[in-house]
Symmetry: C2
Subunit: 344 residues, 2 copies
DNA sequence: CACGCGCGTGAAAGCGCTGTCATGAATACC
DNA sequence: GGTATTCATGACAGCGCTTTCACGCGCGTG
């Protein structure tokens, strides 16, 4: 910076003021300084600046993985927003328990960021408490923590609407396929299950535990097993609601393999609306991680700007049912009508 | 740090030495300092440290998007590697030309990182030159730049082997579908085309410009148009080699829609081997972005460690043909045999 | 017993910025 | 026309750390 100052024939104070866009610099001087800075290829060291301002100009995000549609979309909308605000984006990928423990032990983000966005972790109370005295705003994304700023999708409503869609098509035997996935990654399982159950109850359809199965995400084989369980029930489902598109697609893949037509014989509904869903013409419940990323980013910037704001409200995002080609009216209306009479 | 020093009854120098693990600290003092640091929940400020050491403990990556299988995989393998080395990961997402210009104008990474990984950009000479005097190791990933450390996949060989696979199945009319995508994002188009041409030439099959078409990535409609072009040729292809899995899948989607059986009537071969390929049972040429990320990360750490190393060699990664269900022997061997006689 | 040497430690000088305060010039006011 | 006021600018302290250098102690050596 001294070099720039010398070249422009001013003091470092003036250079600093110019480069930070303060208004108390005369236009000619500003021009001179900017020219010098450009010529010398100068960029302010955030490190040095942060030392005195106490602000790092960095937002840290803690994510379970970078390799997923969900995180990709969320970060992809978050990043430009931060850049526009002159902030850097620091990523902590915490894929397993060991890393997680290490993270909470050392809190490497401490003093190295102005805010932390925690994505999709089911944190323990201890962990949350640890983040509380991190000395910076912490925003919980894709999860809700009482009394802390959170941004998340309304999974209950999403599953409720999805299930209603199937009910409206005449289905009564509706299975729900839960996901067991990477540890520590919260898939909001319970909330989605809850919405499913709520819709059934509301429609007067009794809950049947046999219709709720779990499967491993990303495994065709595991999907085949779950499918087998459902298809070998005394009264198999006419529709399957999978908690995640990937699982829905795995089910469809197996159904096709077995020559069971979708949706003629079995309707399949997903949840997420990731690109894969479109490729498979999968009916699904859409959520928007990019909206989530954006909202979370905006909230972070707001809290950094004005830490007194102390926003503790939750931002809840909507879902939308997207009917495509894998859901259709139930195949045997006659049987259904008798059911209806039973309940009437 | 002063607090820790006071509590432990030593000078800040000693605290600094202890916390950095220097050996010139007596065991008793070390224990005292560590205890004090733990009690005060103290963590060294990287900012302040970097001010004097000149090292930021940060690696910057410049990526065109975060929302893609390729980037997700690459970063997902890069991140833990950096964390293990005590480095932070700083992400610059440059999705469009405006951001790109801004990035090269201000070079925000300057002095805020110890190394820069540039992913998948087709940089101009000017831009490369600009990065040259960034004052830190710059590693080019998924692209090669002469005289600069680069890590990339051997696209020519990949396309060569992919095309050979189709040739070996008896195909002679093999189309190649190029990708026109997000601007600034390099898909190595030319290299893959080159490999394709090389294989044909090597097999004595004349190049036919009609068999090379371009399409927009991620658009079913665009794929339909390209497909239409190929299917309305006087002598349509019996196999299609798409430069990217996503395009291959879009082609298959359209072929199925039109009741043209894959691979019985037309073989389709992709390139990338992203998860989508597996879902569609797509035969493809596999590359490993996670290997790429790892190699690039290791190279970055090496260059940071020992800037004298001045590694300018290129790391070239292999590809593998993965035959699945969308490539099969050509349908009309009779015609082919006559062809073969023609060339004999 | 004197001397030199290594070892553990502390004092102090910055690293590159920002922010306060002082300064002087230009403008405004009575 | 003299004083008050604004305004642009510069000098300088200090943010929290690392790193040199100097110091003093205890040891081995001649």
């Amino acid at each position: 910076m001294a070099d720039v100052a010398e070249r422009a024939g001013v003091s470092t104070s003036t250079v600093s003021r110019t480069l930070r866009g303060l208004s108390t610099v005369s236009p000619e001087v500003r021009a001179r300084v900017e020219k010098a800075a450009r010529e010398l290829n100068f960029a302010v060291s955030r490190q040095a600046a942060s030392l005195v301002t106490g602000r790092t100009g960095t937002v840290a995000v803690m994510v379970p993985t970078l390799n997923s549609w969900f995180m990709g979309s969320a970060l992809s909308s978050l990043a430009p927003l931060l850049r526009a605000a002159g902030m850097q984006l620091n990523v902590y990928e915490i894929p397993d328990l060991a890393e997680r423990t290490a993270f909470f032990e050392h809190l490497p983000a401490r003093r190295n960021a102005d805010a932390l966005l925690v994505f999709s972790f089911d944190l323990t109370d201890e962990e949350t408490a640890r983040l509380d005295d991190l000395g910076m705003p912490v925003i919980y994304v894709s999860q809700h923590v009482d009394g802390r700023p959170s941004v998340y999708v309304d999974d209950v409503a999403g599953a409720l609407h999805g299930t209603r869609h199937l009910l409206n098509l005449g289905h009564r035997r509706i299975a729900f396929v839960q996901t067991v996935g990477a540890s520590g990654f919260s898939f909001s399982s319970n909330e989605r299950l809850l919405g499913y159950q709520q819709a059934l109850t509301e429609a007067g359809v009794p809950l049947d535990d046999d219709l709720v199965v779990s499967t491993l995400v990303g495994s065709k084989r595991a999907a085949a097993e779950s499918l087998g369980t459902l298809l070998s029930l005394r009264e198999p489902p006419t529709a399957i609601f999978a908690e995640q598109d990937e699982v829905a697609v795995a089910l469809i893949w197996n159904l096709r393999k077995t020559q069971i037509p979708v949706p003629e014989r079995v309707s399949v509904l997903g949840f997420d609306d990731q690109p894969l869903a479109d490729w498979f013409d999968l009916s699904t419940v859409a959520q928007s991680p990019s909206d989530m990323g954006r909202q979370a980013g905006e909230l972070a910037l707001k809290l950094i700007e004005d830490s007194a704001a102390d926003h503790k409200g939750h931002i809840v995002l909507p879902t939308h049912v997207i009917p495509r080609e894998t859901t259709a009216p139930v195949a045997h209306p006659v049987v259904r009508e008798r059911d209806a009479e039973d309940h009437g």
